[in-house]
Symmetry: C2
Subunit: 208 residues, 2 copies
């Protein structure tokens, strides 16, 4: 009842997560050994595995924290978006992209995405997938908002359009992290080009 056990658990969990995140940042994912993470967190290797199913899992956990921040920042844009469809979409998406490399390297993104695909049933992969779904919803909600405002034509399936725009940007982001040489600006330009036809076509003519 005292909760000593619960407190220790939360504390260990925090230490492990912080140890892993810092090590990943310092030496990269591959070179960070479980033994090292455990040592820095002051727990045993076995204990690490009581908290995380495997090495990929803890990376997905750190990436998930990052995605949550992006979601939060996106809220502000969706609440008060620019008036034209193209600009609104672009501002939201560019914000996603800008956030992406602040704390995480391309290598970390690659490993996290690969892990969440390979083990879709581990708890943190589920969480990552869920966050992806919330990002997708955010884009759909933006389109719906623009529709209510009259910037997007009535009768358009805003959810379908939002999903397509999100899936496109997500796939482009995947290509971006796969290509170590690609610049953030290139990614943004390409996605902007892809969004233009859709944005123009769904917009009410006079606001185009």
């Amino acid at each position: 009842m005292t909760g000593l056990r619960a407190k220790q658990k939360a504390d260990r969990n925090r230490r492990i997560l912080e140890a892993a995140a810092s090590l990943f940042r310092e030496v990269g994912y591959d070179s960070a050994r479980i033994e090292d993470i455990a040592e820095r967190a002051e727990v045993s290797v076995g204990t690490f595995y009581n908290y995380y199913e495997n090495k990929g899992d803890i990376l997905v956990a750190t990436v998930s924290m990052e995605v949550e921040e992006v979601l939060e920042a996106g809220k502000a844009i969706v609440e008060n978006p620019p008036s034209t469809t193209l600009e609104a979409l672009q501002v939201l998406i560019d914000q996603y992209f800008d956030h992406s490399l602040v704390y995480l390297s391309k290598e970390m993104w690659r490993t996290a995405m690969a892990t969440s695909i390979q083990q879709p049933d581990s708890p943190f992969s589920r969480r990552y997938t869920e966050l992806d779904g919330r990002l997708c919803d955010q884009v759909s909600i933006l389109v719906q908002k623009l529709q209510l405002r009259g910037a997007v034509m009535p009768g358009i399936d805003a959810v379908a359009v939002g999903q397509m725009a999100f899936n496109n940007l997500n796939m482009m982001f995947l290509e971006f992290v796969k290509d170590e040489a690609m610049a953030l600006e290139t990614l943004k330009e390409r996605v902007a080009r892809q969004n233009r036809p859709l944005a123009v076509l769904i917009s009410t003519p006079r606001m185009q």
Copy 2:
């Protein structure tokens, strides 16, 4: 000059690829050990690594063969597509999806996709990425063809539209293989819904 060495090399390569593909199908990717693959192919473990960089690599190789078949089948559709935009897109995409699970399980797709993300510089990952690009091009070419025929409005950026449609279907396929419970029909229906707004909007009014 005799080419004995080249012949032996090709033969060993074929044996390794067949051994791996059959083992993956029989026991799944994770349970198929390199040692087992090597034994079935009648080579040593070391030789396996002379032909493939790592375990993921050979899976991506088997998947690549599959994608090439899909590409080939897609050609026929692009050469002589249905007349309406929506139908043409849907026929091509459904064909991609129908082919996908003939030889490969969802687990194999997951691992292949994860590997191609995690090690984008290995030769077979490059090849997988390149095939993905060709699939993307195929969709774009279909849209261009429809535009030439007059089914798609002139002035539309056909390449951008094709890329967006492809990235969307690719991401949806990824969600599909991540969810062991999702049926192929569900995938098709969802993508069809997503494609509708885009297809309708880019179509010339009277052909809609």
